[in-house]
């Protein structure tokens, strides 16, 4: 949060990784979110792939992971 707080620390602290170096990797974050969407909501409330196969395949995990289903 605040760089001043870190600067005043007596113990050597790991320098924060600049946001601009993290930003390119956020693409992977979006991929993760897409993966979560397929487990949690695909062919339920909304659908990208037609049919019910994805929904049926991950069905038990969808219920157990807390996502709304049937």
């Amino acid at each position: 949060m605040s760089d001043t707080a870190i600067g005043s620390h007596a113990i050597p602290s790991p320098a924060p990784i600049p946001v601009r170096e993290i930003a390119p990797w956020l693409v992977f974050g979006l991929l993760m979110l897409l993966a979560l969407y397929f487990v949690g909501a695909e062919e339920g409330a909304t659908s990208i792939i037609p049919g019910m196969y994805v929904h049926e395949w991950v069905h038990d995990s969808r219920h157990l992971l807390g996502f709304p289903c049937h």
């Binding site: 990784i17 909501a41 219920h63």
Partner: protein, 277 residues
């Protein structure tokens, strides 16, 4: 990443970027390992509850079909796309592994931002704190409002609304947690750790409580659904989350500490040498 950026970037930027890559791979790896544990638990404890709930559902469907037949209506049975056996084994495995690995990756990205920006300089502490706030924001709080339900509890006609509400609750909870964490950092400049955490925590609770009160309740549990089955299912669902987040929090932190020690020869040296160029 283009060649031009490569040439103007100082070496430390490149190394920082590679550090994020390392963390991301590590997070997905720990998430994958967590997934194996979560799957084992779900297979042994969760799956029997799903089976019981489906047995209840079938019994209800049969009773309904029989009643309909007496009134001259023929119910059409839905075709089974994926057999129960596959759903309960490879299907469950796929869902859990994808979920855990994805959360491992997201966890690593949040860690790469948080490490070095928190009071604690120990990656193990940062990792555990992230896991605790993560499970509260992503699972515990949204589930208090909209708990996990076994098959046959939800009404298929309301799936759109239920999904929307669940994700709204999760999003508000997550944003509330981020806001509270930022607030805690600010308060930390004036107050001690206890006071600032109490105040920030109170703000988070206020946000999610208000949201929870504003959003409509969903209760579609059939009146004759076994209460112990519902309870067991929800406890197993919570158990899976605890296993996943505990593994992420402890595993990722330990892995990072170990890697730092090997790489820099001393503890908690994540980026000190990288930035000393």
């Amino acid at each position: 990443m283009t060649v031009a950026i490569f040439w103007v970037s100082p070496a430390t930027d490149m190394e920082n970027r590679m550090m994020v890559r390392t963390l991301l791979i590590r997070g997905m790896l720990v998430g994958f390992l967590a997934g194996i544990l979560v799957f084992s638990f779900a297979k042994v404890f969760g799956e029997p509850q799903v089976d019981h709930a489906i047995a209840f559902e079938s019994a209800m469907d049969e009773a309904k079909a029989k009643a309909d037949l007496e009134r001259g209506i023929h119910d059409v049975e839905e075709p089974e796309l994926v057999s129960r056996k596959l759903q309960a084994s490879y299907g469950l495995l796929t869902g859990v592994m994808v979920y855990s690995t994805a959360f491992g990756g997201l966890f690593a990205l949040v860690f790469s931002y948080a490490n070095g920006r928190m009071k604690s300089t120990d990656p193990r502490v940062v990792s555990v704190l992230l896991a605790i706030t993560g499970i509260i924001a992503v699972y515990v709080v949204p589930s208090i409002k909209y708990p996990a339900n076994p098959p046959s509890v939800g009404n298929p006609d309301t799936i759109g609304m239920r999904t929307e509400l669940y994700f709204i609750m999760m999003l508000v909870s997550l944003l509330g947690m981020i806001a509270a964490t930022m607030l805690q950092g600010r308060l930390r400049q004036q107050y001690n750790a206890w006071t600032s955490t109490y105040l920030a925590g109170a703000c988070y609770i206020l946000i999610v409580f208000t949201t929870g009160e504003l959003l409509p309740a969903v209760n579609e549990v059939p009146s004759n659904f076994p209460a112990d089955l519902l309870w067991n299912f929800r406890i197993d669902s919570l158990g899976m989350q605890i296993i996943m987040w505990t593994t992420l929090g402890l595993g990722f932190g330990a892995f990072t500490e170990y890697a730092n020690r090997n790489r820099f020869g001393y503890r908690n040296g994540a980026n000190i040498q990288l930035n000393a160029h």
